[in-house]
């Protein structure tokens, strides 16, 4: 049996009077890429914030490598479980300053060779280092955001719609990069995507979420032949 990197047990979460996650039970296997699909508003991004300790569940338990998430120091947890958000927010300053941010927060400096290697890995040229991060295009910001998350060398990497603003070639580059990191370091990846082909192509496993519930999960091939009627409709593009 594959060990779970992240496990949800009967997790409920509400905010502003809305029941966002409803009784989520399931596991993200260790060292694998799991894609997370579902219509907008299904609670996928919220689920990420729970994995990273940015929010806490109302009830239920979240386990990271078999240990309750509450047992981890929040700072240690967030370094272990990295997250690259769809918004790819940048702080004021250069690309280097943004890339270095996870280390700056620990009072350290980044090794320039390492910085250049990371930029190269995500498909950005070394000359970008001195550029103003806020002036990068959406796609470039997204790539930098991924590189920045990798600085902490996380064991689990949460990727929220990271290729939605990229062209097809860049999308493939990022997919290859994620697969490469997964293979090389055994990093567990959980990837939210709206692109079902992508989910099928790179996910070893897939979770389908709708309206705050986990409807179906298993090997990604489930998307080809879903059991649940709602998932069948979603796959056909009838649920947006």
């Amino acid at each position: 049996m594959i060990q779970a990197a992240v496990e949800f047990q009967n997790v409920h979460y509400s905010a502003d009077g809305l029941h966002i996650l409803k009784n989520i039970t399931g596991a993200f296997p260790f060292g694998k890429i799991t894609t997370l699909v579902g219509p907008s508003g299904a609670g996928k991004s919220t689920l990420f914030k729970l994995c990273n300790g940015l929010r806490s569940p109302d009830s239920g338990e979240i386990l990271i490598k078999g240990t309750s998430i509450d047992s981890y120091d929040p700072v240690e947890l967030r370094r272990k479980v990295g997250i690259a958000l769809q918004s790819a927010t940048m702080v004021k300053g250069s690309v280097l300053e943004n890339l270095e941010l996870p280390l700056t927060l620990q009072g350290k400096k980044i090794d320039i060779e390492f910085a250049l290697e990371l930029l190269h890995d995500v498909g950005l040229e070394g000359e970008f280092l001195e550029r103003n991060a806020k002036e990068l295009s959406g796609g470039q910001r997204q790539k930098l955001s991924i590189a920045r998350t990798l600085v902490n060398k996380p064991e689990v990497l949460l990727l929220d719609e990271i290729t939605s603003s990229l062209d097809r070639v860049s999308q493939r580059d990022i997919e290859e990069l994620i697969e490469k990191i997964n293979e090389k370091y055994g990093t567990t990846m959980i990837w939210i995507t709206h692109n079902l082909e992508q989910a099928l192509r790179i996910g070893h496993f897939t979770w389908v979420m709708m309206n705050g519930e986990l409807i179906e999960s298993g090997e990604s091939s489930l998307l080809k032949n879903p059991r649940d009627k709602r998932v069948q409709d979603f796959v056909k593009g009838e649920v947006e």
Partner: protein, 251 residues
């Protein structure tokens, strides 16, 4: 000045009233309310001060200062309702700044320990601290609101709450204290400060008046910087919980 002479100064209230009426500015009601309130409040304070000065009792001095802190808190808290426990944070700040300034002034014998000095200086310190508090809270809540994404980004990367709110805190402290520092650069060139003008009009030696004004200016510098920093450092932890999660500002 006699009350008859004082009543003639109401001409300066009539001028804006006539202008407002003529140009349909709609300021008449507020102008009249402001005038009536200032007359009642200041006359009341005048009589209270007269009594406090005559009795020279420490209890009355403390009561006056507490009254000032209460009124300042009541006024400033409206700007910080989105921050949990803002009332007590303001009270602590005002008490601290009052104790700090009076300890230096009285401890080093800079001014004599009489109500004539303690009360007006306390009024200036607490009043200025209140304005600074309002400026700070206005800016800080806006910065926190606008930079929510940056705050969460730093937390996701393993930053502490203090690191996550650092930029907003420093920007707000600077923005609220800069007007005090800037206004001191041109003081005396453009306008004569109120206290100094009052002393000169009352017949005091201008150089003596300037000395006291400088004393007040320097106190206000401390007041401005300490108020902003203290309020900032007391306020930011309430934006996070024990699990270092960013909590929304209260609406």
């Amino acid at each position: 000045m006699s009350y008859l002479t004082l009543s003639l100064t109401l001409i300066f209230v009539l001028i804006p009233l006539i202008l407002s009426r003529t140009l349909k500015l709609g300021l008449e009601k507020d102008t009249i309310i402001a005038t009536v309130r200032s007359i009642i409040q200041l006359l009341a304070v005048g009589y209270v001060l007269q009594y406090v000065f005559e009795t020279d009792n420490i209890i009355f001095i403390l009561l006056m200062i507490l009254l000032m802190i209460g009124a300042a808190t009541q006024n400033a808290r409206r700007k910080g309702t989105s921050i949990r426990g803002i009332t007590w944070k303001l009270v602590i700040t005002f008490i601290f700044i009052e104790v700090l300034t009076q300890s230096i002034l009285l401890g080093l014998n800079i001014v004599p320990p009489t109500p004539q000095y303690i009360i007006p200086i306390s009024g200036m310190v607490i009043g200025n601290s209140m304005v600074l508090g309002i400026l700070f809270l206005n800016r800080f809540t806006a910065e926190v609101e606008n930079l929510q994404d940056e705050t969460e980004l730093i937390l996701t990367l393993g930053g502490t709450p203090k690191q996550a709110i650092h930029t907003q805190l420093i920007t707000s402290i600077k923005a609220s204290t800069i007007p005090t520092i800037e206004s001191q650069k041109t003081i005396g060139l453009v306008q004569l400060p109120g206290m100094m003008s009052g002393q000169i009009i009352a017949g005091a030696d201008p150089v003596q008046a300037v000395q006291f004004q400088l004393l007040i200016l320097f106190i206000l510098l401390t007041t401005a910087v300490v108020t902003s920093i203290m309020l900032g450092y007391l306020s930011y932890p309430t934006l996070f919980n024990q699990r270092m999660q960013f909590l929304k500002l209260r609406s």
